[in-house]
Symmetry: C2
Subunit: 103 residues, 2 copies
């Protein structure tokens, strides 16, 4: 089965970047024991004060889809919704390998 | 010191995607013992037959800059140049944490 990757960007209301970073770091923590999720990195960009970036690597596209239905994910989405103004899937990826990723 | 991340896209000549993937995987391999480089992931995207994506995480922006001057990097750049038609830095990142990234 092919790994599945995503690079996405959330846009938030003015001044809410840190709140969203914290919610997404909680999401990452809730996936700590989920083997299907290999990476869930949360980043910001100095030039974009209202954006938060997420880079995810999953063992399969199905694993990613299933994760969206988890209760813990749903709770976090509910908390994040009021501060999010946009979501953009910048790239849907098929990881080929490299440093720091399992074979 | 802040970690430094990059999400970038290379565009290649028709039919040269696999060649560039292989060159970049060699680059990743050459960085296997370089502690300053935490991640160097090479991906493709099914909808974009002439693109290759790279996600990198470095211990600092300086470490990334220095890596570009390494002899091994220079050799790989030389080999990749004839097949590359474009390079785009999609996002310059400040990683905040998450699953699969060191604290």
């Amino acid at each position: 089965m092919s790994k599945f990757g995503l690079f996405g960007k959330f846009t938030v209301k003015e001044g809410e970047r840190e709140s969203l970073v914290n919610i997404l770091l909680e999401a990452a923590e809730s996936m700590e024991n989920l083997d299907e999720c290999e990476m869930y990195h949360v980043s910001i960009c100095e030039d974009e004060p209202n954006s938060v970036f997420v880079y995810e690597v999953w063992c399969s596209v199905q694993a990613h889809q299933e994760s969206l239905t988890l209760e813990s994910t749903q709770i976090l989405i509910k908390r994040a919704k009021p501060i999010i103004t946009g979501m953009e899937r910048i790239a849907t990826l098929k990881p080929e390998g490299g440093k720091g990723i399992s074979a």
